[in-house]
């Protein structure tokens, strides 16, 4: 099983066994990661699943679609170049070990 390392804004690391084929958001929820809220359940409508993918592995992730791009403008914490909505990023075996940084605020 691949792993994801979620890192809270205060630096706390949570290494979890991840499931491929579902989103990074769903992996966060399944593992009770507080930094992801996901109020719309992955419909790309709420931006409360914002994360930063600074890891080099992120280059293997397909580019975002325009909906996600627009919605990121709504993130509570300011968007960076590495910003993604975790509900729009599918976990794969290739991303094993990816570090997902979480913002301090989602709302």
């Amino acid at each position: 099983m691949p792993k994801i390392v979620f890192v809270d804004s205060d630096g706390t690391r949570h290494e979890v066994e991840a499931k491929s084929g579902v989103s990074i958001m769903e992996n966060a929820i399944a593992n009770n990661i507080d930094g992801i809220e996901a109020e719309c359940g992955g419909s790309c409508m709420c931006a409360t699943c914002h994360c930063f993918l600074e890891d080099d592995l992120a280059q293997k992730i397909p580019a975002m679609e325009s909906d996600e791009d627009e919605m990121l403008g709504f993130a509570a914490e300011e968007r960076r170049d590495s910003s993604r909505l975790s509900c729009q990023v599918t976990m794969t075996d290739e991303l094993d070990g990816i570090v997902v940084n979480l913002p301090a605020e989602q709302n």
């Binding site: 579902v22 769903e26 929820i29 399944a30 009770n32 507080d34 809220e37 109020e39 719309c40 359940g41 419909s43 409508m45 709420c46 325009s66 909906d67 627009e70 919605m71 403008g73 709504f74 709302n107």
Partner: protein
Amino acid sequence: MAAPVVIVGGGQAAVQLCLALRKEKYAGDVVVCSEESELPYHRPPLSKAYITGKTDDEKLLMRPESFYQSRNIDLRLNCMVSAIDPAAKSVTTAQGENLPYQYLVLTMGARARHLPVKGRDAVGVVELRDIKDARQIKDRLSGCKNVVIIGAGFIGLEVAAALNVQGVGVTVFDTAERVMGRAVAPEISRWFEATHRAAGIDIHLGEGITEITAADDGNVSGVVRSNGERINAEMVLIGIGVEPHTDLASAAGLDCENGIVVDQYCQTSDPSVFAAGDCANHPNVFADGRRVRLESVQNATDQARTIASAIAATENNTPPDKPYAAVPWFWSDQAEHSLQMAGLSFDADTHITRGLPADGSFSVFHFRGNDLLAVDSVNASRDHMLARKLLGARISPTRLQAEDVDFDLKTLL
């Protein structure tokens, strides 16, 4: 030890309230009484991906079971609350248990409105409010060639579109003259009507049905139109709106009128009792403080946050200071088309279209005088996002700016 926060209902608002209370560092006990036998789940996919098997039960869950334990939330399933005693500050469950509360939060949602028509009780006449309904639809679908849907609101059209994509013959009836008539601009209604028709859905507006017919075995066989014509169907979905759950609240003497009446802190007429979500009738700043009742994920979650912050303030002996003031938003996915709405359009007097409906991507800007009240967007997520920002900042484009696709609305922010 202080009595717990008791939450009645285990849906969207309830789960968000659990999250928000713990985020506000509320350390007291929290008990959630849900009459359902399932862990709380997301309702929106029920009328979209779920019924056609494009998503599964696990994906619907709002949080895994371990969440409730790890956050010290006492989630009780199959636990219907049958009475509230505000004087004693306690609730009674259907099992006869008496639960004291320090704060009570009512998040009971709404029930599907009943259609008083002959034949209503035939097997295969369904509604869609919860996962049990959705499973019934999904199970029945395998033997279905034709489905009749009564009501061209969001749920009716979402289901119609999803089934049509699956190759099921779909006929929709609504007594109103246009689809989603209570919620969107006429231009949007017309666009969806035409688009669904072009995709093969049979839509009859300004027309109800006079009877639902059943075969000898009790299974539904179709409906009778007002002109007497019979239409065959192996399933009939009734989606004519909802009624808020207010019985518990009104029996307890709380003010109710089209929902449980709350103030800007979601507090009911009893200061220890709050209400949120589909069952709460609240003053909304985006309707000039007028009372409304909204049925949306946004409203349920933002009201839950409002209540968590009011409870946290009360615990700190300070008055609540974060009134409910979030920009209303809503979405509806119908086949591959996305409808997104921001603001409240009830009081609009002018509707300006941005973009060309014929291109399949456009928005309608609702104004009252010079003030922007709401924007409905079809396959135009950029307009929707900008609308949410403009409304939140109380900035109105001029009508000319709204209409001019070459004018970048972002420059106003």
